[in-house]
Amino acid sequence: MKPANLVNQSSSWFGAEGPACDIVISSRVRLARNLAGFEFLPCLSPEQKQEILDKLREAILSSELGDTVFFVDVDHAAALERQLLMERHLISRQHAAGKGPRGAVIASGEAFTAMINEEDHLRMQVYAAGLNLHDCWRRINRIDDGIEQKVEYAFDSQLGYLTACPTNLGTGIRVSVMLHLPALKLTGHIEKFITAAKDADLAVRGLFGEGTDAIGDFYQLSNQVTLGVREEQVVEEMSKNIVPRIVEYEKAARQTLLDERPHTLDDKIQRALGVLRSACLISSQESLYLLSSVRLGVNLGRVPEVSLAMINELFLQTQPAHLQIRAGKMLDADQRDALRAQLIRQKLSNN
């Protein structure tokens, strides 16, 4: 399969179903691993990178990954294809922009993805829709067991899995959820959430992870401590204590808006819908921002004619590489803004 074909699919984990999916968009568990006997990425020659790529590609492809497994040679992929993979959260910005032999393995409806030669030799992750971290952990743990039968990981009994950056040492686990918190933002409580999360050693990031802003009230929350804790502990803490509490706060904030400021709420939702339904030029930032307000409206039953699945589809399809690959050509910013506006008008039209 070619990466460009992904453009017409909806990704399995970015769905409209799943526990608490009105607030928790997706769950993700990522593991960082390096091969024993090799240097870390900053000190590898292109030949060694190629050797690692071949080794890991084979080990991963021969594991049990479910349906539609395919490998992408990221180094030789077209710029638009790399961007498409990034927009679908299958590879990181860093991996898309990197240099030298590197690749990605994508499987089971985009719920599994592995990056080879990103910051570590291997970074693999499993996604699920809604709050479902236990499932992600079970699946990635099994895949990790399989790969470990075929390659030897760099491991130390004191420091655990050795990673290029000491912040990932130990378990190499990153447990994260993508949250949609528009009501906490509207009611002015988002700062509290961010401060509390940081105090609990959690990282709060934007839609595309490290170094990105929280646009459209989307926040990625993940653990920072990876050494001296068991994987199950991190997963359990996040899914039983941390996330449910935030979900409760966001729900309470939504209820407050409904009870006390219904006109403010409806105004925000309907204005967003109005602009989306009539704009002739719209940037990806603006559409993300407005779609976020409509998403809140859909979840609160204020916009019965629009479905959550439709909003999610628009989030994906209005991104620059998605637009260009569907159009079959490169487009400049103005052309993209026009095409984006047209797509949104068409999907959200009243009839």
């Binding site: 743990n141 470990e148 760099a154 009994s157 290029a164 130990g170 050494l227 001296g228």
Partner: protein, 168 residues
């Protein structure tokens, strides 16, 4: 409580200043506090931490005789060529051996980034030799034992104690 400066966001930073017996309280939101240069950065970037440590190490090693415990920032790892200076710029190490070579400089950083922890207690690859596996398992069991004793669950504690003895 609203921020005293912008009067929009909720105040999350509360300052109490006592100057010549006069007590003043200030309540600010994160953004305004940052603008005032007051916000505490709870997560200091790793490379910043290391640069500070390197500076401290330098002054220590200058004061001491040569051969002190701290590595020089420009001495490369014989395996991969990584230096502490380069690490302080990128936060990335060059090879597994660096963890041993730069242990004195890295351990404080590692503990800072992992809530004071310095010992792995999670998954162990099945290929790892039995001795290493036992080490990690022993550690986990000892922690559980501690918790069981704290919770006065002596039945579990006794079982854990037997397991520990078996492994040793």
């Amino acid at each position: 409580m609203l921020c005293q400066i912008c009067k929009e966001n909720t105040a999350t930073i509360h300052l109490t200043e006592i100057d010549q017996g006069q007590r003043t309280e200030t309540h600010l939101c994160q953004q305004c506090a940052q603008k005032q240069g007051l916000a505490v950065q709870s997560q200091i970037p790793l490379n910043e931490l290391l640069s500070n440590l390197l500076a401290a190490a330098k002054s220590v090693s200058e004061a001491q005789a040569p051969g002190s415990a701290f590595s020089q920032p420009d001495v490369p790892c014989p395996q991969c060529g990584m230096t502490l200076r380069r690490f302080s710029e990128t936060s990335l190490l060059g090879c597994p051996e660096d963890y041993r070579l730069f242990q004195n400089e890295l351990m404080p950083l590692i503990e800072r980034s992992h809530a004071g922890h310095s010992q792995h207690c999670g998954k162990v690859p099945s290929r790892t030799d039995q001795r290493q596996k036992n080490e990690v398992e022993l550690l986990q069991l000892r922690r559980q034992l501690e918790q069981a004793v704290k919770a006065e669950d002596y039945e579990t504690a006794a079982r854990l104690r037997d397991q520990i003895q078996q492994l040793q």
